[in-house]
Amino acid sequence: MQYLPNILFFLLLVAGVGYFTKNIRTVVRNIKLGIPVAISDHKKERYGNVARIALGQSKLLKRPISGALHAIVYLGFIIINIEVLEIIIDGLLGTHRIFAFLGGFYDFLIATFEILALLVLVSVVLFWTRRNVLKIKRFLSPEMKGWPKQDGNIILYFEVVLMGLFLLMNSSDYALQQMGAAHYTQAGSYPVSSLFAGIFDTMSQSSLIVIERTAWWLHITGILIFLNYLYFSKHLHILLAFPNVYFGSVTQKGQFKNNQAVTAEVKMMMDPSADPFAAPAPDAPPPPKFGASDVMDLTQVQLLNAYTCTECGRCTSECPANQTGKKLSPRKIMMDTRDRLQEVSKNIDANAGVFVPDGKQLLKDYISTEELWACTTCNACVEACPLSIDPLSIIMDMRQYLVMEQSAAPSELNGTMTNIENNGAPWPFNQMDRLNWAKE
């Protein structure tokens, strides 16, 4: 019986990590539904970006207040989680504060964790106020109603509870240490939790142990729940930010990729020896689909982008179309892509691993043509995104589908394109008049 807690802890850990692993495998599977992209170039620059943009959060800090708060919560959270390592070892081996042998360094670590925990608590309260009390425009867009808004708050409550439990665990431990309780050897320094250890003065040692143990168990359980919550929330970015920034574009923002399928087609048309009326060879692959109407037509990087998006709305708040009241919101483009991908994922799960067409797609069922045609391709969203996400590339791919597969451009643009085709200019002027300005 004496190993019961160890066994329980082991099972809890296996369940928590196991379910998380399963969901991450689903994410990977879903991303692989996209078109593969071979990225092996610019390694140095890419790692540099990861260090600067993902780890260093350089783009977030462009908005100093929210950037600094985020940095505190992020750093605090990461560093405090070193403590989780000790908790796991203690849980498995039945030890208590196994790293205590580090002595002075241990004191330093625990003290740092405590101060960070306090800072995280303060930042989280400020974050909550920003989200719920201050009327900050980017948190009020239509796409933020309902679940996305809740999601943003839930994660803040999580942090409050986890930090609270961490401090409760420490303060009761500290009180027990003062009492000289067995197993609670003097270890660590508790600049924050010692402040309110006084509330335990009147308690018996046994009830204090119950409090300490409960806080300890709830804290680690909370962390495992948090880990598993990520998959269902915008908070996947704490993991995906790194690969996403790595795979982000390293070319000039103005360089839109040239559609390879079209290049092949154009080459054939320009080839004087090709017979345009020849029947296709019987074993010829089906003609490629130009552009994107659903998530499977997007690249794996674009799908990774969708899972990484943290719904911060920095893109949307810089978007000229959105700022002037158009329906387009680059954040919504990313959220829609993820929602549709999750819908496809559930479909695959329900149908023994194969996608059964459901009569829906990303285009129109999620993203309207009105949104797509409002974009000026200005790249403000791409520039603003702290995670190197590219909403514009999805907009462009969907426009390609509309125009090349459906001939569904706005009528004025059809006129423009006819002009380019016939006159070599977007206006109905004759190409032979192109140099007239020099004589005027």
Partner: protein
């Protein structure tokens, strides 16, 4: 004045068995749009004045395909690109300058994978090298001390990271350069990009060019300088919309330099 413009074509150079120093890619707006033609001419005056041996393609030039690509017609874009690249390669063109950031971006970034490898410069970058080489004189003239703001064209700024060349030129004009709140990497689009120039905007509560013009007017500048024929149109329309034509003028950086030297 304009009869003084020397605008040789690539064909002229070819006939003499010579290569120009640089090809001036005029672009559709620069060739056909009445307002943009003035920018073209101002730039040519500067080139003539600096003794730059340049040539244009003239009637052999065609749309780069930028509006087609941004409208989603990749097919038409690539047809235009391949045709243009054939012409440019046939003339063994190496260096291109253009006064249109869209042409600049397309030829610079999207032609290489289709077989067109050229050194491409925006006209403000080119003018700056002329200035550095002592071939071009940029002096304040009538702009000296005037309050000027520069509107960053998306396809020069964010798209290609060039924010300083036009500003350096403006500083040489000894103007008082004031920045709008949203400038450089955060610059707000004029509303023309992505083929929006050629269609009505989607329903909203304001036109983008009006939003941008308000910001420009708020700086108190008497001239909104820019480096793109489309931005120029959008901002000019915005100024008209706000009925500020008496107070605010929209000018290309090249026009200002030509104007200052009374060319």
């Amino acid at each position: 004045m304009s009869d003084l413009l020397k605008v040789p074509t690539m064909a002229d150079f070819m006939a003499q068995g010579k290569q120009p120093e640089v090809l001036f890619w005029v672009g559709c707006a620069g060739s056909f749009d009445d307002r943009a033609k003035k920018i073209t001419k101002a730039f040519v005056k500067l080139l003539n004045n600096a003794g730059v041996e340049f040539a244009v393609l003239g009637t052999e030039e065609s749309c780069t395909g930028d509006p087609a690509k941004r409208a989603g017609n990749e097919f038409l874009f690539q047809m235009q690109a391949v045709t243009n690249i054939e012409v440019l390669n046939a003339y063994k063109v190496q260096k291109i300058v253009t006064a249109c950031p869209h042409c600049f971006n397309t030829i610079n970034n999207e032609y290489p994978q289709l077989g067109g490898n050229f050194e491409v410069m925006h006209h403000t970058q080119f003018l700056k090298t002329l200035l550095n080489d002592g071939r071009l004189k940029v002096e304040g003239g009538k702009f000296k001390g005037k309050k000027i703001t520069f509107h960053d064209p998306c396809y020069l700024g964010r798209a290609n990271g060039e924010y300083e060349a036009p500003r350096d030129l403006l500083r040489k004009l000894e103007v008082e350069l004031v920045e709008m709140k949203r400038c450089k990497t955060n610059g707000l689009c004029c509303g023309a990009g992505g083929a929006q120039m050629f269609k009505e905007p989607e329903p909203g509560n304001k036109d983008i060019n009006v939003e941008r013009t308000e910001e420009a007017v708020d700086t108190g500048a008497s001239i909104v300088a820019t480096g793109c024929p489309f931005c120029n149109t959008m901002m000019t329309d915005g100024v008209k919309h706000k009925e500020k034509e008496d107070q605010v003028q929209v000018m290309d950086v090249a026009e200002m330099i030509a104007n200052a030297s009374e060319l």
